[in-house]
C-alpha cells in the first residue's frame, strides 16, 4: 500500500514509499518546509532549499527505518530542523544570520505546530497587506525587505532623508502588523498547524 497524502496523522498506514507516493509527498511539503526554515531560522530561500533538499534525501534514504504508524512528516520535520541547526553552526551562516540567532526566540511552538498553512492564502494575504500601504511607504519597505538595501541606499535612491526612511519603515511594519495580525503568535501556530493537518 502506498502512502496516501490525504490520510490523517493518526491512521497507521504502512508507509511504503514508492517513488510516486514520495513525489506526491515531496511536492506537498516542499514549500511549507522552506517557509518553516525561513521563518524559524531566518534563512534565505537558497539556504532553506538546501536544508529541505538534504532533509528529503535523508528521508528517502532512511525510509525503511520509519516505523509503521509513525508520521514521516514529523520525522522529516525533525531532520530538516537538525539540518538547519547544523547549518547555523557553520561560521559563515552564523555571521550572516547572527541577527536572528542573537535573539533566539523561546517559541518552540513553531516546531511541533508547523502544520498546514494554506500557502496560496498566505501569499495572497501578504500581497494584499503590502498593496494596502501608501505608495512611498510600500516602496521603501520593499526595497529594504526584498532587495536588502540599507536605509542610506534607500534614502539616496528615493531622494529622501534617512530619518524619513526610518519613520516610514517602522510605520510600514506596524501597519502590516494590523493587517497580518491573524498570522502572528497564537494564530501563526494554528495556521501553520493546518499545513500538516489539511491536505
Amino acid at each position: 500500500m502506498s502512502y496516501e497524502s490525504t490520510s490523517d496523522e493518526s491512521s497507521s498506514h504502512q508507509f511504503n514509499f514508492d517513488e510516486a507516493a514520495f513525489e506526491t509527498f515531496f511536492k506537498q511539503h516542499f514549500t511549507p518546509l522552506c517557509l518553516y526554515c525561513q521563518f524559524k531560522f531566518g534563512f534565505d530561500l537558497d539556504l532553506a532549499k538546501e536544508a529541505v533538499h538534504t532533509g528529503f534525501i535523508k528521508l528517502w534514504e532512511t525510509r525503511h527505518l520509519i516505523a509503521t504508524g509513525s508520521s514521516p512528516k514529523s520525522y522529516l520535520y525533525k531532520i530538516v530542523t537538525n539540518n538547519c541547526l547544523d547549518m547555523l553552526k557553520h561560521e559563515k551562516v552564523r555571521r550572516q544570520y547572527g541577527l536572528f540567532i542573537r535573539q533566539t526566540t523561546t517559541e518552540t511552538s513553531h516546531e511541533n505546530s508547523f502544520v498546514s498553512i494554506d500557502v496560496k492564502q498566505l501569499q495572497a494575504d501578504i500581497n494584499t497587506a503590502l498593496s494596502g500601504l501608501p505608495d512611498q511607504m510600500r516602496k521603501i519597505f520593499e526595497l529594504s525587505r526584498f532587495e536588502g538595501l540599507k536605509y542610506t541606499e534607500i534614502a539616496n535612491r528615493l531622494n529622501l532623508s534617512v530619518k524619513t526612511v526610518e519613520t516610514q519603515m517602522s510605520r510600514a511594519l506596524l501597519k502590516l502588523r494590523e493587517k497580518l495580525s491573524r498570522y502572528l503568535s497564537l494564530f501563526l501556530v494554528l495556521l501553520f498547524f493546518s499545513l500538516f493537518i489539511k491536505k
Partner: protein, 385 residues
C-alpha cells in the same frame, strides 16, 4: 506599550540589519530588559520574517525541485547499495565481542589563559544517575530528544580539552569525558549551567546576571570571576578553588555536610565531602606557577577510570560535529576511524544508538545520513566523502 514606540524605528532598523554593533547592543539590552519588550520585539520580528515568505512562495517551483531531487538520489541509490553489501560482508559482529574498555587520557590544550582555571568534575555517577562505580553509559534517566534550539548541550569525549564559547562571552574549556548543559541564550536574570565532569570557566562579567554552575550537590555562583571546581566520581569529593574574584558555594539541597552558603576569597579552597562536613582551606595561589603546572597538579590527583562494564546501555550524540563523534566512537570501540577533516567539516549528528550496536552499523547509519562512504582497511574504518 507607548514607551516602545520610540524604539520601534530602532527595532525595525535592527531587523533590517542596518545598525552598527553599538546600536545593536543597545537594542538587545532593551529587548532583554523585560518580557514585554521581548514580546513586542518578537512580534515585530515574526512579522518581518513573515513578509519575506511571499517571495519564497512566488519563487518556488515545486516541479523543478522534484526533478532536482530525483537526480540527487539517482546517484546515491547506487552508491549506498554497494556500501550496504560491502558492509554486511566486511563487518561481522566481531566488534561487540572484542570491545575493550578505554581509558581516556587527559591532554592539556596548549593555550590556556592564565589565572583562569575552573574545573568542575562531577562524578559520572551523577551524570548517569547510578551508584558509584556504575557503568559509564548506563542510563537510568530519560533524556529528551535534543531537537530544541533552546537547550545547548556540549559533550567532550575527544580525548583532549575542548573550548566552548557562550553567547555572553563566557569561555569554557571542557575536559574530556565532560559535558555541560545550559539554555542558550541565557535567561534574562541569571546564567545557569550544569556540569558533569570537568571544565574551566572564564566567566564574562555581567553584574545583572549571576553565573551559577550546578555540579551534583552543590552550586557555585560567580559574578564575573575565575575559579575552578573539581569533583570526581569515585571520591564523592568536590573542591572549589577561587583564583580571582568572588564566588559563593551553596548546597543544592541543605544537607548535613553543608547547610549554608559559603563565600570564598581568592586563595581559598572549599572542600565538600560526602562523608564529612564541608571545610574551607587555603591553597597556594601564586602567579609564578604556570597555569599548565597548576592544571597538571590538579589533574594528577584525578584518576578518571572508566568503568569496564558497558552492557545494556545506550549513548547519544547531540548535535556534535562528526569529527567529535568519530573520535568518541574510536575511543569507545577501540578501533581506528580514519577520515579527512575536510570531508566531515560542518557535518553534525544527532542520534542515539544502543551500545550493543556494532560499530559498523553505527558508522553506516551516520554515513548514510551524511552522504559519506565507509570502507574497512585492516583494523580501521576509513570514512570519506
Amino acid at each position: 506599550m507607548n514607551s516602545s514606540n520610540q524604539y520601534d524605528e530602532l527595532l525595525v532598523k535592527y531587523l533590517a540589519g542596518d545598525l552598527d554593533e553599538a546600536e545593536m547592543s543597545t537594542v538587545e539590552n532593551w529587548i532583554g530588559a523585560n518580557p514585554q519588550n521581548k514580546r513586542h520585539f518578537d512580534e515585530l520580528k515574526d512579522l518581518w520574517k513573515l513578509t519575506a515568505l511571499k517571495t519564497s512562495i512566488e519563487k518556488l517551483d515545486v516541479d523543478s525541485e522534484w526533478n532536482y531531487f530525483k537526480s540527487s538520489i539517482a546517484g546515491k541509490e547506487e552508491d549506498s547499495l554497494n556500501q550496504q553489501e560491502k558492509f554486511d560482508y566486511e563487518y561481522p559482529e566481531h566488534e561487540s565481542k572484542s570491545r575493550k574498555p578505554v581509558v581516556y587520557k587527559m591532554i592539556i590544550a596548549s593555550a590556556i589563559a592564565a589565572s583562569v582555571l575552573l574545573i568542575f568534575t562531577l562524578g559520572w555517577k551523577w551524570f548517569f544517575g547510578g551508584k558509584p562505580h556504575d557503568v559509564i553509559a548506563k542510563d537510568t534517566t530519560k533524556i529528551e530528544e535534543p531537537v530544541r534550539a533552546l537547550v545547548r548541550h556540549e559533550v567532550n569525549t575527544s580525548g583532549k580539552p575542548m573550548a566552548v564559547v557562550l553567547q555572553d562571552g563566557t569561555e569554557i574549556i571542557l575536559w574530556n569525558n565532560s559535558e555541560i548543559n545550559f539554555q542558550e541564550p541565557f535567561a534574562a536574570d541569571k546564567r545557569d549551567i550544569t556540569l558533569k565532569g570537568k571544565a574551566k570557566f572564564n566567566v564574562a562579567k555581567d553584574s545583572t546576571r549571576p553565573f551559577t554552575v550546578y555540579s551534583g550537590d552543590i552550586s557555585t555562583t560567580a559574578l564575573g570571576t575565575e575559579f575552578t571546581v573539581t569533583a570526581f566520581e569515585n571520591t564523592d569529593r568536590i573542591v572549589v578553588r577561587l583564583y580571582e574574584g568572588k564566588v559563593v558555594v551553596k548546597p543544592v539541597k541543605k544537607n548535613k555536610n553543608l547547610n549554608k552558603d559559603v563565600y570564598l576569597d581568592p586563595g581559598q579552597e572549599f572542600v565538600y565531602d560526602n562523608s564529612k562536613a564541608a571545610e574551607v582551606n587555603k591553597f597556594q595561589l601564586t602567579d609564578r606557577i604556570a597555569v599548565e603546572d597548576m592544571i597538571s597538579d590538579e589533574l594528577s590527583q584525578d584518576n578518571p577510570s572508566i568503568p569496564q562494564n558497558t552492557a545494556g546501555s545506550w549513548f547519544m550524540f547531540n548535535n556534535q560535529s562528526l569529527d567529535q563523534v568519530f573520535n568518541q566512537l574510536a575511543g569507545m570501540y577501540d578501533v581506528k576511524i580514519i577520515y579527512d577533516e575536510k570531508d566531515v567539516k560542518s557535518m553534525y549528528f544527532i542520534g542515539k544508538f544502543e551500545k550493543s550496536d556494532s560499530l559498523g552499523y553505527i558508522l553506516k547509519q551516520i554515513s548514510i545520513l551524511n552522504n559519506l562512504t565507509i570502507t574497512r582497511k585492516d583494523n580501521a574504518f576509513v570514512i570519506a566523502r
